[in-house]
């Protein structure tokens, strides 16, 4: 553990340079699966609550944003950090067949599930081949 602290201190000047260049925003891992009548997007956003989550569709772009809400006491010193940002953010371009009015979402144990229904005209219809 001491070794970890020691190493991170060595790289400090480099990370300070990074800090000014990029905000501490994390990219959530996502799964996207297609169903007959909708697309489902599942994103890992641990620590994000219903209140700190912000979903938006603007100009066919879906934005997912969430602030990590952790109750941490004051006076903590980091020993080791794999998550080093305060918020998750990711954006996706939607195709025109998505009915953006009907998008629904829920967050459960830090997993966000967004359902993107297709417009009626674009749903998969199975066409039965008739016997001659």
């Amino acid at each position: 553990m001491n070794e970890v602290v020691h190493q991170t201190q060595q790289t400090q000047p480099e990370t300070q340079r990074n800090e000014s260049r990029e905000p501490a925003t994390l990219l959530p891992a996502v799964d996207i699966v297609e169903h007959a009548d909708a697309l489902t997007l599942i994103a890992d956003m641990p620590g994000v609550t219903r209140e700190s989550l912000h979903l938006e569709v603007d100009n066919n772009v879906l934005s997912l944003e969430g602030e990590i809400q952790l109750s941490m006491p004051d006076g903590l010193t980091a020993l080791h950090a794999e998550v080093n940002g305060q918020r998750f953010a990711r954006r996706f371009t939607l195709s025109h067949e998505i009915d953006s009015e009907a998008i629904s979402a829920r967050i459960d144990n830090g997993v966000l599930t967004v359902t993107l229904p297709k417009k009626d005209s674009h749903r998969v219809r199975r066409i039965e081949v008739q016997a001659a």
Binding site: T8, N18, D31, L70, V83, V111
Partner: protein, 153 residues
Amino acid sequence: MFGDLKRFDSGASQRLDWFRQLMDEVFPDGRAADIRAVPRGSFPMINVARSDDAVRVYVFAAGLAPGDLTIDIQDSVLTLRGRREPVAANDDEGSARPVFRRERVSGEFVRAIALPDGLDTERAEARHANGVFEIVLPKREELKPRRIEVQVA
């Protein structure tokens, strides 16, 4: 708080992860890696922080319910075990669905991290909220910081 953690960052952003891995393979860095170090993006991700009276471990395990994570401590090594169910890729009728992205880790995982010495593991506690587990490991009494009053002669 994570603003603070930021300066302990040991590498580039997640976005550059694939590039970093490639670079690490082609040009391995001469510095010795911690024996239990993991590549970035491992599941679950872990932060460890220290205060005057305890060491706190934060486990970012989205999608795990409180009962899904097994936490063991032995000889100052904290081991986390669990399993996350994959998203079903089959319809109810059993036909496969197209999958466009599969970035989320699923299946069994085991992670171990070394803890500092001098923790009272008997009094350890764990809490869970919104996919984050917080494990509080109090320090032993004799290791807590103490102020020594100077007496007047």
